[in-house]
Amino acid sequence: MSLILDKISYYYGKGTAFETAAVKNITLSIPDGEFIGLIGHTGSGKSTLIQHMNGLIKPESGNIYFNGADIYDKDFKLRDLRRKVGLVFQYPEHQLFETTVIKDVLFGPNNMGFTKLEAEVAAYDALKAVGIGEDLIDASPLELSGGQKRRVAIAGVLACNPEILILDEPTAGLDPAGRTEILNLLKKIHEEKKITIILVSHSMEDVARYAERIIVIDNGEIYFDDEPRKVFEHEDELKKMGLEIPQCTQLVRKLKKCGFDVDEDCLTVEETLASIKECFGIN
């Protein structure tokens, strides 16, 4: 199982006065089971790029291969791709339309040709995975809180049992507790179901903690594609793209500059705390 983008480019408003290149000659390989963070400033082309991955946008040039098959071949079924590559859009709660939560979650599996039983099992599973309790299953999606709606929407995609799950800024507009919950949930799904996760974000903090690999995109081009520690070595270049490395990493680096013997590579608050404690000999 793998997804490969081969030199893809895409322009919005092709042939008009408003033509903008949103993705420029990007080559990317997504192997099985990774947790990838896709990071870029507003307007850098993240949303455009990920829509190529399940065939919603057809690239102007370049090819996309899923398990070795070109997804724009005549006998390739895009629906299969869309089942296996789940895409949760930015503000996914705006796509809810059914009268009850469970019906909405069933929409995907039913479209994908699951049997009735399979669909229901998948839907209940997905709702449980995102932490929507049984009391809400028959509620109207429009009556839920923002965070609950977001979870239901994620469950709607998860219920198709994707092998790759792509989420476009799933934490945008949530409170800090809601953010952590959603991100922890993704981590749990990643570990339990062994699915590949691509997390789109413009917060390094979020991505640093969860992702094993970070892809930095700016102006439609990939600048870095590496493990978090390696990417964060390019602090100045990232700053030029309007991105900040995590604050804890900044802190330990400053401490190091001032002559303290701390570990420069700390990515999370816990690691930082441990490192500083060690340096000062506190337990």
Partner: protein, 263 residues
């Protein structure tokens, strides 16, 4: 953002025609249409044709754009020309089965066709060079006299400009929701009529919900800024005539006079 004003086929460029007052362009287009129906001879046609080419060049519009604008009326155009060609009585110059073509018919078809083409050219120059917002504010001012008859001119103009502003937003939104549902396996493209109509439900419901939400938010935002209709309201960018508008009006008068008096 740029893509928000693509509606109404606005073509951004730096030109005298773009800078003209929207009232001038609106009234000018009307005047041009009147001129089109005044001339009776080939010379009048040359005059109007020359005028429109001159204005297009001034506006720095690619001819390609204007021709593209013709596409929707192509059918109507052919229809009218054929009818004129075949049904005008007069001196017969050709006959085939039940059809007869007359000299008068050829003239009528030719003039009708050319008039129609120029009419569409003329009005698309207006929409290509004026943003929808400017156009509505121009119309508000042109039709301002109707306020005496208690016609809510300002309110109508406001409604039109809000609607225009929202069309691209809603189109964007439609596109987004459509893709989101496609990602969940929705299929909008295949199947019979009933299946397709049913497939629209997951698109239309979220779209309506979001349209109502946006309308409500906008209404609240306007009230919070004390909007209460047109009375005593001033404009941030009041319309002002410049020398170029005077020149434009004079050349239009020249055009009409020319069309009336040309032999």
């Amino acid at each position: 953002m740029l893509r928000d004003i693509t509606l109404g086929q606005y073509y951004p460029a730096e030109s005298v025609i773009h800078r003209l007052d929207p009232r001038t362009k609106f009234l000018g287009t009307l005047a041009f249409i009147v001129a089109l129906f005044l001339f009776k001879t080939f010379w009048g046609f040359l005059l109007c044709g020359g005028f429109i080419i001159f204005v297009t060049a001034l506006a720095k519009l690619p001819i390609k754009f204007l021709i593209k604008g013709m596409r929707p009326i192509l059918f109507l155009l052919l229809f009218m020309m054929i009818f004129n060609l075949l049904l005008t009585p007069g001196e017969i110059i050709g006959q085939w089965w039940i059809f007869r073509v007359t000299k008068e018919g050829v003239y009528a078809a030719l003039f009708m066709g050319l008039r129609l083409v120029m009419l569409v050219f003329g009005s698309s120059i207006m929409t290509y060079t004026t943003t929808p917002n400017k156009l509505t504010s121009g119309m508000e001012s042109v039709f301002g006299f109707l306020k005496i008859f208690k016609v809510p001119v300002h309110e109508l103009a406001m409604m039109i400009s809000i609607a225009l502003r929202f069309i691209p937003i809603l189109l964007d939104e439609t596109n987004k929701i459509m893709k989101a549902q496609q990602a969940r396996g929705a299929d909008f493209e295949t199947g019979g009529l009933i299946k397709r109509a049913k497939a629209l439900v997951p698109l239309l419901i979220p779209l309506f919900v979001s349209a109502f939400r946006r309308a409500e938010e906008l209404a609240e935002a306007m009230e919070a800024r004390c909007y209460h209709g047109g009375k005593g309201r001033t404009k941030m960018k009041p319309l002002k005539y410049h020398l170029r508008d005077l020149i434009a009006y004079l050349s239009l008068i020249g055009l009409i006079v020319g069309c009336v008096f040309i032999p």
